[in-house]
């Protein structure tokens, strides 16, 4: 699913990581750990195709198969959950997207607020909507950056349920206890 050889990323004079080799088979779970600023987010952005590596070779699935959730939920705050997911459903060409959107909003407990503006939501509700957005097109590879951020106990349990699904995962976190047992591969940044 993911294969990288000698992957490196620099921002100007600052080396974020270098000489990184990665192999993640379909269905695998790569746990990326490390302190703040160690390169976890940059690695996920490179794997998502949002940033180009400075050096190395990288093989990824097609863009449509990738779901990425960064530090922000990546939804428009002045739109409702329904409007956000309908927009992205359109851009991802999801057939019967109304049904899919409704199912995800129900699953993450956002159905009753589907017409409310996201700007009125708590950070945890926004994170739930971010998870809906990232799952909307049923990606086979999911890249999640600190996915438990701001989630309450119920939201965290919902996310645990998502991890039970048969996908390929790359999860970056500095609190790995919750997902450690799922990891098939580990990458620790210093």
């Amino acid at each position: 699913m993911i294969s990288a050889r000698g992957l490196a990323k620099r921002y100007g004079d600052r080396r974020v990581f270098a000489g990184l080799d990665l192999d993640l088979a379909a269905g695998g779970f790569l746990l990326v750990t490390g302190p703040n600023g160690s390169g976890k987010t940059t690695l996920l952005r490179v794997l998502a195709g949002l940033a180009a590596p400075t050096a190395g070779e990288l093989s990824l699935p097609e863009r449509r198969s990738i779901g990425y959730l960064g530090h922000e939920p990546l939804v428009y705050r002045e739109l409702s959950p329904l409007e956000n997911l309908t927009l992205f459903g359109r851009l991802y060409r999801i057939p019967e997207r109304g049904e899919r959107v409704g199912m995800l909003l129900e699953r993450f407990g956002l159905w009753d607020v589907r017409h409310d503006r996201v700007s009125t939501f708590s950070r945890g509700m926004q994170q739930r909507l971010g998870l809906c957005r990232v799952l909307l097109h049923d990606p086979s590879l999911l890249l999640l950056d600190e996915p438990y951020n701001a989630l309450d106990a119920e939201g965290a349990e919902l996310l645990d349920g998502v991890f039970d699904e048969p996908r390929t995962w790359v999860v970056a976190t500095h609190e790995p206890r919750r997902v450690e047992r799922r990891a098939t591969e580990r990458l620790a940044f210093a």
Binding site: A51, A52, Y68, E72, L74, V75, Y76, E83, L91, R133
Partner: protein, 205 residues
């Protein structure tokens, strides 16, 4: 057809965001009316129509700049460029959708500005209206591309005018002179270049 549907969905999104936030269009309207009012009192009585027309174009360009500065605010503040770029649609659809929304804001601002100019100075002829319509296309296409470039930079408020104003000079020349063919040619060339270049603007290196 899918491409046009994507463009329509993205443009509709921008219009909806403005309808809710009401941040860009009211500012553009206030700015253009205030500018024309200032020009009205600043110019001596009996100023020629040609001189007043030049000021109209200056007012329109700076009003457009105000709108362009705000065009990518939701994408910048909420990180939405990442979400849009990740979608498997053609990236130029993002540019075209935003361009159409900017064009709508410009037309709305001019729907107030042109009658205001006629009231303060002198009447507007059909050629000027046609020139403004053609200029809007050029302003929106080039301005949206530069807006996307500027949004990634740290000095974005400074960068956009520095990029946009030099390329707005031909629009003013064509507009003041009423050279409709020149404005149409500008739209065709810079519209095509902006459409083709957007992919590279949103690709981080």
């Amino acid at each position: 057809m899918s491409y046009l549907a994507d463009v329509g969905a993205l443009a509709r999104k921008d219009l909806l965001l403005e309808l809710r936030a009401k941040e860009t269009l009211p500012a553009m309207l206030l700015f253009v009316v205030a500018t024309l009012t200032i020009f009205h009192f600043a110019l001596p009585h009996g100023t020629s129509h040609a001189a007043a027309l030049g000021l109209l174009w200056a007012a329109l360009i700076f009003t457009a700049l105000l709108g362009l500065t705000r065009a990518f605010v939701p994408e910048r503040e909420q990180g939405m460029f990442d979400a849009l770029v990740l979608a498997p649609c053609d990236r130029s659809a993002i540019w075209l959708g935003k361009t159409l929304a900017v064009l709508a804001f410009l037309v709305a601002a001019e729907a107030v500005a042109l009658p205001a100019f006629a009231a303060f100075f002198s009447g507007i002829d059909g050629r000027t209206v046609a020139a403004v319509a053609l200029a809007d296309v050029g302003i929106a296409t080039v301005g949206t591309l530069f807006g996307a470039m500027a949004v990634a930079g740290r000095a974005r408020e400074l960068l956009l005018p520095l990029l946009f104003l030099p390329l707005a000079i031909p629009i003013v020349v064509g507009g003041v002179g009423g050279y409709l063919w020149f404005l149409a040619l500008y739209d065709a060339i810079f519209g095509l270049l902006s459409w083709a270049a957007f992919e590279y603007v949103v690709s981080e290196t």
